[in-house]
């Protein structure tokens, strides 16, 4: 266990990702994200904190489909936090970039400033089919219309883990105890999660892999999501 504050991070092995989008569904279930209507999808207003982006590399017949699970990159140096006029998006001491929904005025500056385009705006009030309403997660707030929302690394799970750890008089374990829903659900085990600053964790080990890269690293945002490039 690291001495200082943990730096929670994720490693996604693109060699292992099968594109099943289990992470997408798990994320929506965990975080009370309303299912999108056809109209929302057509007008590019879907909310999905986790997306699997498909990139077609090359032309037929030598085309190759590449997959890139895209979620908030949990930057060390997040552009969205800087620009928010009311400080509604902030980086916590645990390194997680979160959104304070009650404070957000809905100016969408953070969304325009995010180079990864992973901040989502509530264009209309969220609505669920009646059967779904019963399965809403009580630990996650439902966001009203007019606010920005984003991936929080399932901060409610961290909270639960911290409560448990505090009860037992210890710190949260660097690995395994706190895992976001997407990582937990991945059937191909393509996603790893843990404290990047603790050298004993698997993520810290994988980050040093030669295949490791970060998206748009040239912008200096220093994401805490690290991808492992496909071998071929």
């Amino acid at each position: 266990m690291g001495q200082a504050m943990p730096r929670w991070g994720m490693v996604i092995d693109l060699d292992r990702c099968s594109g099943c989008r289990g992470c997408v569904v798990a994320c929506k279930q965990e975080n009370n994200i309303a299912p999108s209507t056809q109209e929302q999808a057509q007008s590019s207003r879907m909310i999905s904190w986790m997306n699997v982006i498909t990139v077609v590399d090359g032309d037929y017949p030598d085309a190759k489909l590449r997959l890139l699970p895209m979620l908030c990159q949990q930057c060390e140096n997040p552009p969205c936090v800087r620009v928010c006029p009311v400080g509604a998006t902030q980086k916590s001491s645990q390194g997680i970039v979160g959104q304070i929904y009650p404070r957000c005025i809905g100016c969408r500056y953070c969304a325009s400033a995010c180079p990864y385009q992973v901040k989502y705006f509530n264009w209309s009030p969220p609505s669920w089919p009646r059967e779904f309403e019963q399965s809403l997660n009580p630990s996650v707030s439902v966001r009203p219309k007019g606010v920005i929302e984003k991936c929080t690394f399932c901060v409610q799970r961290l909270q639960r883990a911290r409560d448990q750890a505090a009860f037992e008089g210890r710190k949260v374990r660097s690995e395994g105890e706190y895992v976001p829903a997407c990582v937990e659900s991945c059937p191909a085990k393509a996603m790893y999660f843990g404290d990047l600053d603790d050298h004993s964790t698997e993520v810290a080990h994988l980050v040093r892999d030669t295949r490791a890269f970060r998206v748009m690293d040239e912008l200096g945002t220093e994401p805490n999501i690290i991808y492992l490039k496909e071998s071929t």
Binding site: P85, V86, G87, Y116, F121, W123, P125
Partner: protein, 453 residues
């Protein structure tokens, strides 16, 4: 009206018919009400009623916001110019520019509030300000600038307002309100006005630069947006503000001279036209400089925006601005004096203002609408009927502010027929004065004897 009333010198000067003005105000009022209704729909249903989406988070409202802030900064630039040059015959132009500047700042505030997802939580700007955010800088600068605008307007329009009381005593409560009760016309208070104005005019130049630079930095300081993130954006915005501001004031002078009792010489428009030519040339130079840099050595995302602008979906807007908004007005304004009618200058100014609006949209939108980083997927944005309605409503509100401000400060000119009647009366008066009996002299009084024009 009997003869003695006609000849009475203290009779109220007849002003023109107010009917067309009330009719215009009614039309604008209806448009404002329609926009309020439409806004209530947006307020209840959310911003989903607009054409905005992900990643085109900003659209028509923000383009209009930038446009209005620019016009406000440009208006104050004209006013500062007049006060610093200290040309007496141009003072009415300064007053009008200040009315325009204050009105457009109000409109800018309307647009930014309309764009918010949760306007009723705006108080968080005061409770939780994040001083790192350019948007917070902008809110602060706009607030200070509004005070400056109103102060400038107050000191330059005060005397004019008080003078109007002489002919229109019925305006007294309004004038008392607008002048905050300070209705003295003593040399000391006039001198005080003058001194305050010269100080405010000097402050207002850096303030106008700050206002529009900060607005540019809202876009320019965002690192992930290739079309915005350029240091030339602030100077470019300033140049656009000057261009649109000069053009708008010229247009307003040309129109205002017909609508209001607004004493301005032809030379003023000519002088402003010269400044406008210089401003247009500077703006064209800045745009060229930016485009050369990007076109010659831009990175891939920069070039994507550049292609959208020059050859892609925004090419029509871009070339419209380049040709109709900049080049043609430049040629019209540069015509030899003999061929340059006021109407020509008016058309040129109108084209320039429309061109700058086009420029605002093509500086804002292509960056948001460029092909997505990984997938290359194309995003689109088309403003909805509701957005257009709100835009029309806000500008109608601006027209109302302009009508009210100009009507209060300058008043409506007497109609042509009435002017002739007045002249006729004066001639009659003189004839009678020539064959004056003591009784007639009593009726004429000292004030009614005006030399014929």
């Amino acid at each position: 009206m009997n003869y003695s009333e006609q000849m009475n010198g203290t009779m109220e000067v007849p002003s023109g018919s107010r009917t067309p003005y009330w009719a215009a105000a009614a039309v604008f009022g209806v448009l404002v009400c329609w926009a309020i209704y439409m806004y209530s729909r947006q307020f209840v249903e959310g911003l989903g009623v607009t054409g905005l989406n992900r990643p085109v988070f900003w659209g028509l409202y923000i383009a209009n916001f930038i446009f209005c802030v620019g016009l406000s900064a440009g208006g104050i630039a004209v006013s500062a110019l007049v006060h610093l040059l200290d040309k007496k015959e141009m003072k009415p132009v300064a007053i009008m520019s200040e009315i325009l500047a204050a009105s457009f700042l109000v409109l800018a505030a309307c647009f930014i509030v309309m764009d918010l997802g949760r306007p009723m939580y705006m108080y968080n700007l005061f409770l939780h300000p994040n001083i790192e955010s350019p948007l917070l800088w902008d809110v602060s600068v706009i607030s200070c600038y509004m005070i400056l605008c109103l102060a400038l307007l107050y000191f330059s329009a005060r005397q004019q307002l008080v003078r109007r009381l002489k002919d229109h005593p019925s305006l007294r409560p309004l004038v008392a309100l607008a002048t905050l009760g300070h209705t003295s016309l003593s040399p000391a208070s006039i001198d005080l006005d003058h001194r305050c104005l010269s100080v405010l005019a000097i402050i207002s130049v850096p303030a106008a630069v700050a206002l529009h630079s900060v607005t540019a930095w809202i876009l320019g300081l965002v690192k992930g947006q290739p079309g915005w993130n350029t240091s030339i954006l602030a100077p470019l915005f300033i140049a656009s503000a000057l261009v649109s501001g000069f053009a708008l004031v010229m247009l307003a002078v040309i129109v205002g001279r017909r609508l209001f009792n607004f004493p301005v010489a032809e030379g003023v428009v000519r002088m402003l036209a010269r400044y406008l030519i210089v401003a247009i040339l500077v703006l064209m130079y800045l745009i060229f400089s930016e485009f050369l840099t990007v076109g010659y050595s831009g990175t891939v995302p920069h070039l994507a925006v550049f292609n959208e602008l020059l050859f892609g979906r925004f090419s029509r807007i871009f070339w419209f601005d380049a040709i109709v908004g900049l080049l043609i007005p430049l040629l019209l304004l540069g015509l030899p004096k003999s061929k340059r009618a006021t109407a020509t200058i008016g058309v040129a100014s109108l084209l320039v203002v429309v061109g700058v609006f086009a420029e605002r949209t093509y500086l804002l939108l292509p960056s948001l609408m460029r092909p997505a980083a990984f997938t290359g997927s194309i995003s689109s944005y088309a403003p909805t009927m509701l957005e257009w309605s709100l835009m029309a409503g806000v500008y109608s509100f601006g027209c109302l502010l302009f009508l009210a401000g100009m009507g209060l400060v300058f008043g409506i000119p007497p109609r042509k027929a009435q002017v002739e009647v007045e002249h006729a009366r004066e001639r009659v008066g003189f004839e009678f004065a020539g064959a004056a009996t003591p009784q007639h002299q009593f009726y004429l009084g000292a004030e009614s004897v005006r030399p014929p024009v």
